[in-house]
Amino acid sequence: MNEHITFRTRREFLRSTILGGALSWTVPSFLANTFAALHAEGADKATQITTGRNGTILVVLQMAGGNDGLNTVVPYANDHYHRARPKLGLSQDKILRLNDETGLHANLAGFKELYDAGQLAVVQGVGYPNPNRSHFRSTEIWQTASDADRFESYGWLGRYFDNACAGCDPTVGVSIGRQMPQAFGARSPKGVSLDNPQNYRFITAKRGPDGEMSSTEESFRKLNQADAAVEENSGGSIGSIHGSVMHAGSALDFLERTALDAQVSSDEIRALASRTDNKATYPASPLGNSLKLVAKLIGGGLPTRVFYVSQGGYDTHTNQTNAHERLLKDLGDSVKAFVEDMKGQGNMSRVLMMTFSEFGRRVAENASGGTDHGAAAPMFIIGDKVKAGLLGRYPSLAPADLFEGDLKYHVDFRSVYAAVLESWLKTRSEPILGKKFPQLEII
């Protein structure tokens, strides 16, 4: 773990939070809730003291489906571009000019504002050797930071958790959505995933089929208390647990711990989310909702290092124009709202956002007003401390310079990861990425 940053340990976390959970079996619920709320405040303060205001946060935003980089960061003055895209090509009046050659898609007004404010970097021509054009394989390559011909068991963020966050509490990584991204896969799995704090809990049937009210939640909590926590509260009266028929082997231990993590983070997350207000207006889209939740959790003081959100729909093989316009508008506006929210909270200096997509798209448009799977594409890095502007150079669009019709990369995406790990998360990138990648100067 890096010397600058100390996390609350699991033990501290359990000690501080379980007490609240345990009380709720024996005291009336309003009292328990009050206790939990009071206690959560206290826990926050503790976090602030140990992690300080320099506890940096990474937000990874996946643009799933393969974003058309050429119509996102547009080489509007390039003849090859317009020749390859007679229908889809964006002319000067349809873009937000960054310089004499390059501009942002007109619907990325949110990004343009951030760019002008010195808070947004565009890393141009990002990719990797031997690009794979399969969505899921290329996504996996990005998520595990592997070479194109290797399979890695764990994700790059999971390896970060393994290397730098041993003993952290479970909310060190939070994925907004149902599934855990492959990037979180780890030797010792960490992180929680949720899409909606309201569902991230033990759902009690509102009313049973026979009309009775169900009151199972309290019993559920008791059933899921791990031995350690139970012992803290019940003293020595339960020594007989170890004579149980169930074997306290590793699988049961692991499950008990995860059950505890789930309960504790469920309580914590729902408590935080319910008492934090957003300070910006977000688009009513899945991405907007995801970032809104991330903002609430950051504002509430969840000790998270990495948030993961995803926006789908970029696989624009047919009639790309309208769909892409809609996606980018949603992207730009959602991220802009998030940045405002962070500023309102006073947390913007702690947050870095990074976007990625599994691949860009073919330079030439297809006959259906769309584009097919391609290779290199830009990434966006957003934050107060980023080296704003256009980084790297635009890959050449000259037909002779393309590889099977696709842009060649200049920047290996793992150089971006390396920079994020070293300069932002303050940890050595080599053990996480498997080798030394030159760090791109982004911060």
């Binding site: 899921f136 149980s244 259906s368």
Partner: protein
């Protein structure tokens, strides 16, 4: 030789363990019946399944499309726009078939007469992990599934060769396009790394030479069949594992299986799948030599495993995380309820991290503790309510980021899946005596016991309810399913 389990150790608990691992578990009456057979006959009942008739019908669409040639021709002649439309319509049909296919297979697991055959089919699906996401053809996925079922406990080289020639596999690992001018190494690499030997037991040279040997094995799109294309085959000399010869694909695969490592690799994986833990060295060696002595056949090894003392060791029993498929199928079996409708089943298993016919990659599901995250554990706890109380809240947002996700969710909301009938599961005496009910809940759902404090929780809960009505018992069932213990088998 593996040491056999003593007959005195054969009882309800060991019979339940065998049923859970070699199959998908079952209600107490079924376990009692298995226990009553005695160890030898119980194992034989599972392993020698060929004598049990299986009259399950194949899905209606699971056959060669007689109009395929015409459709392909029409697609070739269509304009690009029309072709895209055709493709979309075709893909939608395939996706629908795949939903049906998943349900068809789950139904076989839940109610079929040959549990071990289905369990082994599931093993092979995870082993030769092939995904619909790339193959995009439900008929090919069904064919592969059928292949695994037919070869489930058979001969290893036969299965390996059949799997290599299987159309879904030919598409999945790009063998279909491999020709002598530019051999594709994808299958040659994975067959050694993931299917038969493991990393470190072959060289890069073996891969390139193996890929050359495999050239010419391809896929005939119109007939949806394996095809050997002699003009694509590299007839030159190859050196594989230090042996020189004019090898073809079959030679290459037989050379792989003949490697001493091959027997260790596949038997170790089999042990891990059924026992849930790595085999210690002596056991691994014994399994490998049992396999060789049996002429590379799986059935004798499986029989030896299920009869062995090691398989029933205290650190093996109740110590394996149920896979999502195991969780769903064994749950409906112990609850004596039917499977929910196809879309709900897909949602349930997908939420828990296992989408049949769509493993995350060619390595298959990592399994074990990896099934469990805070999100999937809470999902299991809430899906218990889906199965027990018919509560579909656990399904909200089950299909995010999918082109037809909203439509799927609407269909889910309209699904009526029902709950369990607790009157059927417990006797009148158990309804009347709460202690007896707790014991019956534990026996049915856990085939073991909760910890004393957990039992007390359940006792307190039931006491609070006064005279028990079905809803209370449903709640109690759901509570037992929402424990760490229930996630283990």
């Amino acid at each position: 030789m593996l040491r056999r389990l003593a007959d005195t150790k054969w009882d309800f608990g060991t019979a339940a363990h065998l049923s859970n691992r070699a199959g998908f578990g079952g209600p107490p009456a079924e376990i009692e019946k298995l226990a009553g057979l005695g160890l030898e006959r119980a194992v034989a009942h599972l392993v020698d399944y060929e004598s049990i008739p299986d009259s399950t019908e194949n899905p209606a669409w699971a056959k060669l499309d007689p109009e395929r040639a015409e459709k392909l021709r029409a697609a070739r002649q269509a304009s690009e726009d029309e072709r895209r439309q055709m493709f979309r319509a075709w893909q939608q049909g395939e996706r629908q078939h795949c939903v049906e296919l998943r349900h068809w297979w789950l139904e076989r697991m839940a109610t079929g007469p040959r549990p071990l055959q289905e369990k082994m089919t599931l093993f092979w699906h995870g082993h030769f992990a092939t995904s619909m996401e790339k193959v995009r053809d439900a008929y090919l996925m069904w064919r592969q599934n059928d292949l695994f079922r037919r070869h489930a406990t058979g001969n290893w080289p036969d299965l390996l060769i059949a799997a290599a020639k299987d159309p879904a596999m030919l598409v999945w690992l790009d063998q279909a396009q491999s020709r002598k001018e530019h051999p594709n190494e994808n299958f040659a690499r994975e067959v050694m790394e993931l299917f038969a030997l493991g990393e470190g037991h072959y060289t890069e040279k073996d891969i390139t030479e193996g890929a050359r040997a495999l050239t010419g094995w391809s896929y005939a799109r119109t007939r949806q069949e394996f095809i050997e294309r002699p003009f694509w085959h590299d007839r030159g000399e190859k050196i594989i594992f230090g042996k020189t010869g004019n090898f073809d694909g079959e030679d290459f695969l037989r050379l792989i299986v003949a490697q001493p490592q091959a027997a260790r690799f596949i038997t170790a994986k089999l042990w891990k799948f059924f026992a849930g833990a790595d085999a210690p060295p002596e056991l691994a060696a014994a399994l490998a030599s049992e396999f060789r002595a049996a002429g590379d056949n799986f059935k004798p090894v499986l029989r030896a495993m299920f009869l062995s003392e090691a398989f029933y060791a205290p650190d093996i029993v109740h110590n394996q995380v149920k896979s999502p498929v195991q969780w769903l199928v064994s749950s409906v079996r112990v609850l004596e309820r039917g499977l929910p409708p196809p879309m709900v089943c897909v949602g349930l298993t997908r939420n828990l991290g296992q989408d049949l016919f769509a493993p995350p990659n060619v390595k298959g599901w990592d399994g074990g503790l990896n099934w469990i995250t805070t999100a999937t554990l809470l999902a299991r706890y809430n899906e218990a309510a889906t199965l027990v109380q018919g509560d579909l809240s656990s399904m909200a947002g089950a299909f995010p980021n999918q082109p037809n996700g909203m439509q799927m969710e609407r269909r889910l909301q309209n699904a009526r899946i029902g709950g369990v009938d607790p009157e059927k599961l417990f006797t009148q005496e158990q309804w009347a005596d709460k202690e007896a009910l707790i014991a019956a809940l534990e026996k049915r759902l856990l085939q073991g016991k909760l910890k004393p404090l957990q039992e007390k929780t359940l006792r307190d809960y039931l006491a609070e309810q006064g005279e028990l009505r079905p809803g209370h018992v449903r709640d109690a069932i759901r509570l037992v399913m929402a424990t760490p213990e229930y996630q283990l088998t």
